[in-house]
């Protein structure tokens, strides 16, 4: 049984097909890139994993079960947008996560925040956009999850912060867990990926291991991507 499986998933909004017959599997212990241009269905796929949307037809299975309370215990999700209450302090958010998730490791979160030089009595409203993104990533990576789902973790941050984010992902995901990262910034991220899933216009157009793809094409994943989706 796969950690995550999409079986012929279709999703329509107002009778407009957004995902068309999407099928793929993610096994344990893999870092998977969900790659595609803007508006091709990456976030829809991610929202389906997290039970924020339900398929029009087909099935999404996490450890063999449909998304729900049980799957939310083992899936750590970093949404594209910040959902943190701006009036709260970092310390209050930590408490909130502790209450919410059994597998939240507050000691780890505190250590990562300290490394970053982020004060626990800082108020969210007073923090920069980049700082809030780092805080959210720390919150997500401090959960001992089986599957981490990160929606555009590199969007809108500078290259140094990108490195910080990649390092934080690499050094903090639980051994044997899987990570799904959606992004269009492929060059920055491809060195840490085991597998890639290319999405275009609501369809899966390529699933392969990064090493095999490099060997077959003698190109970087970024170049393969640009070649396939040239406008």
């Amino acid at each position: 049984m796969s950690l995550l499986e999409f079986k012929n998933v279709c999703k329509e909004f107002d009778h407009k097909p957004i995902l068309k017959n999407v099928s793929f599997k993610v096994e344990s212990g893999r870092i998977v890139g969900l790659l595609g241009k803007n508006g091709t269905g990456k976030t829809t796929i991610i929202k389906l994993i997290n039970d924020l949307l339900t398929p029009t037809s087909g099935e999404v299975l996490i450890n063999g079960n449909k998304p729900g309370i049980e799957s939310k215990k083992i899936v750590a999700y970093l949404p594209e947008r910040s959902y943190l209450d701006r009036s709260k302090k970092v310390s209050q958010i930590l408490e909130y996560f502790c209450d919410f998730y059994e597998n939240f490791d507050i000691t780890k979160a505190r250590k990562l925040l300290k490394d970053l030089g982020l004060e626990e009595n800082a108020r969210i409203a007073k923090m920069s956009k980049g700082m809030i993104e780092k805080l959210q990533l720390i919150l997500v990576m401090s959960r001992e999850a089986d599957l981490y789902v990160l929606d555009e973790p590199l969007g809108g941050v500078d290259p140094a912060t990108r490195d910080y984010i990649l390092d934080t992902i690499l050094s903090n995901f639980k051994v044997g867990a899987s990570v799904i990262i959606s992004t269009h910034l492929i060059a920055d991220i491809e060195r840490i990926l085991d597998d890639v899933i290319f999405v275009d216009q609501g369809e899966i157009v390529l699933v392969d291991s990064t090493d095999d793809l490099r060997e077959k094409t003698n190109q970087s994943i970024d170049e393969v991507f640009r070649g396939m989706f040239r406008c």
Binding site: S171, D194, R214
Partner: protein, 119 residues
């Protein structure tokens, strides 16, 4: 040491090459324990699965060996390390000669330049 990889070739084979170079240069000594998968992953800022693949490659080439429960170690086979060194040198020279031949530089010129560089 900073580990850098380009994205055109499989990372694991670049990684195996780098570690091989550390072995033949003596930076990693015969019989020395090498970092664990997790340690290498952090050191090289790479995916642990990629590190595993690279270490498998080295283990198949007998350049490292596993002591169960104890970790991985550099081979004690000096002959093997030496022959690996020659192999690397020979590939480097081949690619060097390829470039030089394209430019039509004579053997005498190359030799003279090399001797000067080696001084």
């Amino acid at each position: 040491m900073k580990y850098e990889f380009d994205n055109e070739r499989p990372i694991y084979s670049q990684m195996a090459d780098l570690i091989t170079k550390e072995i033949v240069s003596g930076k990693l000594k015969p019989g020395q324990k090498i970092p664990s998968v997790r340690e290498y992953a952090l050191l090289m800022k790479a995916n642990p699965n990629t590190v595993c693949k690279a270490l498998d490659l080295l283990e198949n080439a007998k350049l490292i060996y596993t002591e169960r429960t104890n970790g991985k170690f550099v081979t004690n086979d000096l002959e093997l390390i030496n022959s690996k060194k020659k192999e690397i040198l020979s590939t480097q020279i081949d690619s060097f000669m390829d470039d030089i031949n394209k430019m039509g530089i004579s053997k005498e010129e190359i030799l003279k330049m090399l001797m000067e560089k080696l001084k």
